[in-house]
Amino acid sequence: MSRLFVQLGAEGFLLGVLETLYMTVISTAVAYLIGLPVGVLLCITDKDGLRPMPWLNRVVGFFVNILRSIPFIILIVALIPVARAVVGTSIGNGAMIFMLTVAAAPYVARMVESSLKEVDRGVVEAARSMGAGTFAIIRKVYLPEAKPSLIVGAVISTVTVLGYSAMAGTIAGGGLGAIAVTQARPSGAEDVIWLCVVLIVIIVQVIQELGTLLARKTDRRLRSGPKRASGSKKIQNKI
């Protein structure tokens, strides 16, 4: 056992786990606050959408794509001055949450967009025939009908943010990533690195299992016999 391992102890690792969870959850939540409306916008302004606005759709899509195509490590570096301006610091958990959110929001937007586009066009059409307006259709058709798929998307997004948070630990903030990269690696404490890896794997597994369970439980399409198998398989494949 390395000195660092002893030094950290159960408390040190627990703190790492909690910090990782804290940053992941907050960042994902804020990313959804931004990404969900943007995803909805992308879906309904599509040329086949509820309110086609090709021009707006292209502009928003363009910015989303740009942010999505920058590798996270580079994005962090680029965001350091921005974080200093917005959060007041370029290190620590606050700065890291800011960076994670910026990276995750466009990802979430695309995730939401693709979930909403899975909603049967016929159902949307039926709602239109009843005199439902755009807002009512978003709130009462798109979001509830896409709920299982949105939950699956949220799981994938959370896991992605978790991965980012470990990466971001190299530059700012704490958590398991920071422990492994900034503390353990220089001192060659391999046991610490490995435990961090194991802990991250466990966290990912737990999030995924819980999310899948929740998605399946909320999905009313899976209640009946023959559809069950294919329905849950679809969800499994996505994860």
Binding site: D120, E125, R128, S129, G131, D219, R220, R221
Partner: protein
């Protein structure tokens, strides 16, 4: 009353252009069941979607009870749509809501209070005979049951009109019949004017009062079902309504007559009487009897002997049987 005036709809997708409707005009009278029949791709769905402006016609006007839908604002349009229910081939139920929740949906849109909406939903479930399925999700219902829920949902806001786009096309014949019966009842008992889009003759036969035949974006003919079914004028109507008759009358020499029996003439043994009274033997090339609107209704193609033509025609006139020389 639904009035479509010179409706043209053109789709332009990418490089290609499709003229889905070409100067279509028609009127659906209050209280009737109006059928629109045509082959796949004829423009039926486009036509019915122009009625509630789910699709905006490129040219032409839509009037509902004298109000021009094509001229009003979006708010007013959304309001008027509550007066025009619609059902679909694929049912289009909300999968994440129960049967009752689906029926409550249009009421929520209309701002009806939860309690009142629940009561109304129960009432409608009873109307369509699905009271015990209130808490079932669409995935737990059969096709016929789903369509019943869809009908109940379409009627929730008490519309005056109901549009049905291939509503029975995904159902087996027995289920189709039960849905058609339900539509009839809704028409008779609730006084709902119904527009039925279909490619199936059976459907028009069973429920429609009047019918328009749509052929490649245009109305080929229109009229009372019994009229159009007795003597279809257009090629397309003949193909749709009496395809076997057309085939049976093809080829072979000699003079042929097409007879149409309606009402009581369909129940009398006219051909054997003809043989006895006129002393001529006729060949029956085709014969078919149906019931439309409770009345017997038959088509027959006979080939005539050279010399008996006049005698036969006179006899048929005496018997009040309609006939035509060209098939």
């Amino acid at each position: 009353m639904i009035e479509l005036k010179h409706i043209t709809k053109e789709y332009s997708s990418g490089e290609g252009r499709t003229l889905a409707l070409d100067d279509v005009s028609l009127t659906v009278r209050d209280g009737e069941i109006f059928g629109i029949i045509g082959l796949s791709g004829a423009g039926k769905s486009t036509l019915v979607r122009c009625i509630n402006l789910l699709e905006r016609p490129t040219h032409g006007q839509v009037f509902i009870d004298g109000e021009e839908l094509t001229a009003i604002g979006r708010k007013r349009l959304l309001l008027l749509r509550r007066n025009i229910g619609m059902i679909f081939q694929s049912f289009n139920l909300l999968e994440q809501r129960t049967a009752e929740g689906n029926i409550r949906f249009p009421l929520e849109i209309a701002g009806v209070k939860r309690r009142a909406a629940e009561a109304r939903a129960r009432e409608l479930l009873e109307l369509v005979g699905l009271s015990e399925k209130a808490e079932s999700y669409p995935s737990q219902l059969s096709g016929g049951q789903k369509q019943r829920v869809a009908i109940a949902r379409a009627l929730a806001t008490g519309p005056k009109y109901l549009l049905c786009d291939e509503a029975t096309s995904a159902l087996d014949p027995a289920t189709t019949d039960s849905i058609l019966q339900l539509l009839r009842r809704i028409n008779r008992e609730l006084g709902v004017t119904i527009v039925v889009i279909t490619h199936e003759m059976r459907v028009v036969e069973r429920v429609c009062d009047r019918v328009a035949v749509l052929d490649s974006s245009k109305i080929a003919e229109e009229g009372e079902v019994s009229e159009v079914f007795s003597f279809p004028q257009s090629e397309i109507a003949k193909q749709l309504i009496i395809p076997e008759l057309i085939r049976s009358a093809e080829g072979g020499g000699g003079k042929k007559l097409r007879l149409v029996f309606r009402g009581e003439s369909a129940d009398r043994p006219i051909i054997s009487k003809l043989a006895i009274e006129c002393g001529v033997a006729v060949d029956i090339l085709y014969a078919d009897t149906k019931r439309i609107d409770g009345k017997a209704f038959g088509h027959m193609v006979i080939s005539l002997p050279e010399d008996g033509e006049e005698k036969v025609k006179k006899f048929l006139e005496g018997q009040k049987v309609s006939f035509k020389e060209e098939i």
